[in-house]
Amino acid sequence: MAETRQFATFFLDGLFFGVEVLKVQEVIRYQEMTRVPLALPVVSGLINLRGQIVTAIDLRRRLRLRERPAGELPMNVVVRTDDGALSLLVDEIGDVLEVAVDQLERAPETVDARARELLRGVSKLDGRLLLILDTERTVNLQDEPVHDREQAA
């Protein structure tokens, strides 16, 4: 019997992504954000999650996808990390799907190298591909290009 796991799915620029459901704390609709000047471009801002301050990361930027069209409000997928909660901004939320993990295939080399680094694999569902994100790597911004004007102070 193939080992299956549950994944929370969402959409980004027409692509279908999934993160392990156990990592997801909650999904909330768009929250007003406070910009953080001088921060990395992928950091969209800070949101107030019931008194907790949570950093929101723009997944489109993180995955080198096209910018979200103006006026389209993102949703927050709040994930648990070692460093506390963190919000991933996505376009739209999908269902929770059961996926056989041993059927995952690595993303082919032709996929943008940076995006490929963040993918744990691709699940071939009926009629569409589900891209499984590696949350640990996604929230670790160490490899992100530094804000071009930001100087190491």
């Binding site: 007003e32 954000m33 406070t34 910009r35 953080v36 000047p37 001088l38 921060a39 990395l40 950091v43 801002g45 800070l46 949101i47 107030n48 008194g51 907790q52 301050i53 949570v54 950093t55 990361i57 460093d83 506390g84 963190l86 929230v139 911004l141 004007r149 930001e150 102070a153």
Partner: protein, 603 residues
């Protein structure tokens, strides 16, 4: 000026101290030890932290309700919110107290550190502690433990001399290391002092020049205190020999960084031969702080009140004229002192609108204190002061040095807390090496080359305003009248182990003011090749940064000429001439008496 001697705590031998502690505990639980368990319980720190967080949440909710209540007419509701307000404040204070610990908890291990180290260095040392009951937040206690240990080890290893040396110097063979803690203005001050050899500013200077930290020219302009504070630079050690304890070049910079990390500041004062005192100032708690809320570029920011000095608002004509530029750097004259300005919007690279650039009709300047320095932060608007709950930033943002944390405002939105030190560093207000000089205003003019020069203005008798280039001034000192002695018919004072002759400028330039001579006297010290002479003036007026042109020749004793400074006619003092008149042998070989070259006047 020599630092005032550190207040000497009552010498209490260690044994007595220990018994005193025991008595103190006994006094707290008068019902005998058996019942001690009834009055105190052990609580998990994690639980306290949680309570602290909840109290913080409550403060935020309270702030929201207060904002909401402000627009309500219902008196019963308003009264209820008011009592909620009071109770929340008390609860918050109570919870805060549960996290307070006496600083003695850290100090308790120091007697042993000192004793072991003294034995290892074949020195005799005694540790005196005063104010061990002073309470601090647990997190702060943790944070200062290591820096303090380091400093104390330094005191014994570098500070104190060997017993033979001490006896030869007329000091008791046993060295004293003092610890003192006390509250002052919402902050806790900790002083660590020793009566050892002190820090030799000359040695620090030579080392700094040798390491290329400062140029010889910069060094020449630095005061003793500035020189001594150079030891806080990374990789600095004046110890001649490296021991397993100290002298390894890591240390004081780490101490400073650690203290600054928790929002504190360090200052070191030293009198060669008499000892060193290190002063640490730290906030009581880190969790809930009063802060000023400002806006810039449509964003709100919180500035911790501890670094806030005052607010200045310039309107209309003032706003257009008040901000001047020195070599592209904006400054404002705050009561005669030059205040460097930093534009928050520009520093944070906020888009477009930059408030307060010259030409705006209103400029808000938040005057901030950082270490010994002041600078003005130009912001778009000033809102209000509020108690804010400091929340940490995620590691994705931690790298941004401009922010110390974030908080949640009354309306539920997040606002960033500015890190004053970080902003100052970004803006280049601090370049680490330069420190406050004779006045707060001289430093930013020192290294900028333009046709302006910094002049020290003072009043002399009927002469009125007299100016001298600040570059020629070694120090400004005050002496009590009773310290003036007479040698060979001339007034002298004892100054840094030398006899310094005094020149009464008012007598020399004519027109002594009637009435009682001022006490203490103000003295401008001029130093040449290690010798000093004191010029007695009536009053120090100001330090200005202006381009001066001599408009009228002097022809009088001690005056090079006159110029218009700050819109008033001011005599330019011929320093060398005056010194030469007073003491023809001061300059050897005798130098030309005009000294006009010193006034490299506007090209």
């Amino acid at each position: 000026m020599e630092p005032p001697p550190a207040p000497v705590p009552t010498p209490t031998p260690m044994a007595e101290r220990a018994t005193a502690v025991v008595e103190h505990v006994a006094a707290e639980a008068p019902e005998a030890r058996a019942h001690a368990g009834d009055t105190t319980i052990r609580v998990d720190v994690g639980l306290l932290d949680k309570l602290m967080n909840l109290a913080g949440e409550l403060v935020l909710a309270r702030n929201q309700i207060l904002q909401f209540a402000a627009g309500q007419q219902d008196t019963a509701f308003v009264a209820t919110t008011q009592s909620l307000n009071l109770i929340t404040t008390e609860l918050q204070e109570g919870v805060m107290k549960t996290r307070m610990q006496p600083i003695r908890n850290v100090w308790d291990k120091f007697p042993r550190v000192v004793r072991d180290l003294a034995v290892a260095c074949t020195k005799k040392a005694r540790l005196e502690m005063d104010g061990g009951d002073t309470e601090l937040d647990k997190t702060i206690i943790e944070a200062i433990k290591d820096p303090m240990t380091h400093v104390i080890r330094n005191c014994v290893d570098h500070g104190l001399e060997l017993p033979e040396v001490r006896i030869a110097m007329g000091k008791p063979a046993e060295g004293r290391v003092g610890l003192r803690a006390y509250h002052e203005g919402g902050q806790v001050n900790i002083e660590i002092s020793d009566d050892g050899r002190g820090i030799d500013p000359e040695k620090v200077r030579d080392k700094a020049i040798q390491r290329g930290v400062i140029t010889p020219e910069q060094a020449a302009r630095m005061t003793e205190r500035q020189l001594v504070n150079l030891v806080f630079l990374p990789g600095f050690s004046t110890a001649e020999k490296v021991t397993n304890v100290s002298g390894r070049g890591v240390g004081m910079d780490v101490v400073k960084t650690n203290i600054e990390k928790i929002g504190g500041s360090v200052d070191i004062q030293s009198a060669p031969g008499a000892g060193t005192t290190l002063k640490i100032k730290i906030p009581l708690t880190l969790a809930i702080i009063p802060a000023l809320i400002v806006t810039t570029g449509g964003e709100r920011f919180a500035i911790p009140q501890v670094s806030l000095l005052e607010l200045v608002r310039l309107e209309g004509e003032q706003a257009r004229r008040g901000i001047e530029m020195i070599h592209g750097a904006p400054v404002y004259r705050l009561r005669g002192n030059l205040l460097p300005l930093v534009y928050l919007g520009r520093e944070l690279e906020l888009p477009a609108e930059v408030e307060g650039t010259p030409g705006w009709d209103a400029v808000n300047i938040v005057v901030l204190q950082m270490d010994d320095r002041q600078f003005g932060l130009v912001v778009g608007g000033v809102n209000d002061t509020e108690e804010i709950v400091v929340k940490p930033l995620g590691k994705q943002i931690k790298g941004v040095s401009a922010f110390a944390g974030a908080t949640i405002m009354g309306d539920g939105k997040v606002a960033l807390i500015l890190d004053v030190v970080g902003i100052a560093q970004r803006a280049g207000v601090v370049s680490e090496v330069r420190d406050r000089g004779l006045s707060k205003s001289d430093e930013h003019t020192l290294d900028r080359h333009d046709d302006r020069q910094t002049l020290l203005l003072f009043a002399v008798g009927a002469q009125g305003r007299v100016a001298v280039p600040l570059a020629l001034v070694a120090r400004l000192e005050e002496f009590a009248r009773r310290d003036i002695e007479t040698a060979a018919g001339a007034d002298v004072v004892q100054y840094r182990g030398q006899i310094m002759p005094l020149v009464h400028l008012s007598r020399l330039m004519g027109g002594e003011r009637p009435g009682d001579p001022p006490d203490p006297i103000q003295v401008v010290v001029y130093t040449h090749e290690g010798r000093s002479i004191g010029l007695v003036v009536d009053r120090i007026l100001d330090i200005v940064d202006e381009a001066v042109t001599i408009t009228r020749d002097g022809g009088r004793d001690g005056v090079l000429g006159s110029a218009v400074v700050q819109g008033k006619v001011t005599d330019l003092l011929d320093v060398r001439g005056v010194v030469h008149t007073a003491d023809p042998h001061f300059f050897t070989p005798p130098a030309s008496s005009t000294g006009a070259a010193a006034y490299a006047l506007g090209a």
